[in-house]
């Protein structure tokens, strides 16, 4: 791994140089198996009418990303942004359509989970590398760099359960960014850690974004999209609302958010008035 590629040839539409081609992507969730809802809700469900048991987290989504491109994905909570990244990372199989990825994928998904609490930082690096499917030799080669960047001193040989949350985030970030991927998937990575580390990590992410052959960035930070992406899509309720230049897509998103807010307020006022009218 860590092989250097020759610079990507100039982009051609639908050519073999595409890093990601996802067509008519659909991911359906079956709610019958998600039994994590509280008792109260389950009871309410029996009393009221049954809501649909299946829903599409993503539907009819087409994403095409050439090497050298950086795609921003924005949208309100629950729009299917993270689901899209999970499908692109190969974590989920689409229920509909297909996705083709050419190149080594690395995803900085949410920081924080994944460590084995009883193992030391060093052991977690080895275990993490094995989970990622890295060759053990490669992980051992990357180790000094990871340890140095995480900057947690002697704690590297102590169990993770003794770490502060900041140390945990630093180590996680350091592992995740140690590999040099062709395709980088980023999901809200910059919201963890203290201010100093945020600055440090932001610099590294920018480096990665610049050096990766292709980037998909999920974020709520519009300045990121406008600054680092050359294309953006707006997802709402699992559908692509608009795709195009970042500035345009961000503007659409802000307008629609504002509209939704106004509508909600109006609805709330309406509901507030209701009782007086009724009496």
């Amino acid at each position: 791994m860590l092989r250097r590629r020759t610079p990507a040839p100039p982009r051609t539409p639908a050519g073999a140089t595409d890093a990601i081609v996802a067509s008519n992507l659909g991911v359906q969730y079956d709610l019958r198996f998600n039994r994590k809802r509280p008792m109260r809700e389950a009871l309410a469900k029996v009393i009221t009418r049954h809501p649909p048991e299946r829903f599409w987290a993503l539907r009819h989504v087409d994403v095409r990303l050439a090497h050298g491109e950086s795609l921003g994905v924005i949208g309100p909570n629950g729009a299917g942004k993270s689901t899209l990244l999970q499908v692109l990372a190969g974590i989920m199989r689409p229920s509909e359509g297909s996705v083709e990825v050419r190149g080594a994928v690395s995803g900085l998904l949410t920081l924080g989970a994944g460590f084995d609490q009883e193992l030391s930082g060093r052991e977690n690096i080895l275990l993490g590398g094995a989970f990622l499917g890295l060759d053990d030799k490669v992980t051992r080669e990357l180790m000094p760099g990871i340890v140095e960047y995480a900057d947690i001193g002697a704690f590297i040989d102590a169990p993770i359960k003794t770490y502060s949350s900041g140390m945990r985030a630093r180590l996680g970030f350091s592992i995740a960014t140690a590999v040099d991927p062709d395709i980088l998937l980023l999901d809200e990575v910059l919201s963890t850690g203290d201010a100093t580390f945020r600055e440090k990590s932001k610099a590294r992410v920018i480096d990665l974004v610049r050096s990766a052959k292709a980037v998909v960035l999920v974020t709520h930070d519009m300045s990121w999209v406008e600054e680092y992406c050359n294309r953006a899509i707006l997802l709402e309720k699992g559908q692509v609302i608009i795709e195009g230049p970042p500035a345009e897509v961000v503007e659409t998103h802000l307008n629609r958010t504002e509209m939704a807010r106004v509508e909600r307020e109006a609805a709330a006022r309406g509901a507030g008035l209701d009782p007086r009218i009724a009496s």
């Binding site: 659909g26 991911v27 969730y29 079956d30 198996f33 998600n34 039994r35 999970q86 499908v87 990372a89 190969g90 974590i91 989920m92 199989r93 689409p94 229920s95 509909e96 359509g97 297909s98 996705v99 083709e100 990825v101 050419r102 190149g103 080594a104 994928v105 690395s106 995803g107 900085l108 998904l109 949410t110 920081l111 989970a113 994944g114 460590f115 084995d116 009883e118 193992l119 052991e123 977690n124 080895l126 275990l127 993490g128 094995a130 989970f131 990622l132 499917g133 890295l134 053990d136 996680g172 970030f173 592992i175 995740a176 960014t177 590999v179 991927p181 998937l185």
Partner: protein, 295 residues
Amino acid sequence: MFASRRSAVYREVSGTPGPLALLGEAIGEVLSRRRLIRYLVSADMKKRGSDTVLGNLWWILDPLLQMVVYVIFVTIISPRHQDDYPLFIFAAILPWKWYSSVVADGVVSVVMQAGLIRQIAFPKIVLPIAVTTANLVGFGWGLVPLLGLMLFFPHRISVYLLWIPVIAFVQYVFSIATAMFLAAANVFFRDLGNIAGHLLRLWWFLSPSLFSLDQLENISFIKNRPWIQALAEANPFAVLFTAYRTVIYGSPDGKGPPAAPDLGQLLALLAGSVVLVALAAIVFKRLEPNFAKVL
């Protein structure tokens, strides 16, 4: 961890491959991720007992204490039992302890890694295999108190003890099938852990653990119903307990010295277990794509 990395090119399409393709995929995944399994096993080892005072000593104490409980219990309710009863029962407790921890750990093996599964693409099938293997090491530790116990019954020590690894291998294959199936099913049906606990207890008492198979023939209710006897003999743990007992204790009816186990029975169980592993792997691979959605 947080990154996921996949080999150069992959393509995911909706729909599921056929059973044989799934089985082939499973085999390829296990072979290519042997190191991951090894790391998971050693992580498991390290965790076990890391928060107790006696630590790994519990692997030795656990089966001994369990044996003491059963010896007291059986001595009280039934004055007639085999000679050298502690050894008789220890030969069953040891493998059962292994199997019951495989079930307990196997059921949660996938569910416990929910955080990881939502964030990295990796073959989940390594999880139940790692759990089964880690517990195999626990079984190995259990041989220490077995040898200690045998010093009290020196006339039963024989070269046939060397059969234990062979019998354990058959049990290992059977355990992998169990762990795989339970791990996958528990993702969708979380009550499985509770149910499995009770079924296990029932299975233990219905298996020739505290008694030997030939004692069943003396019960008139069973004598009149040969199918019960046939069922009791087909129980995988009847085969396993009898095999362990034959090499450790001697003939389970208490009349003969240790001998080689019934190879025909063991081979039949091995063949059946291999088929079960294949089936469990197919079921697992079939359900795997939905893990990330449900967890």
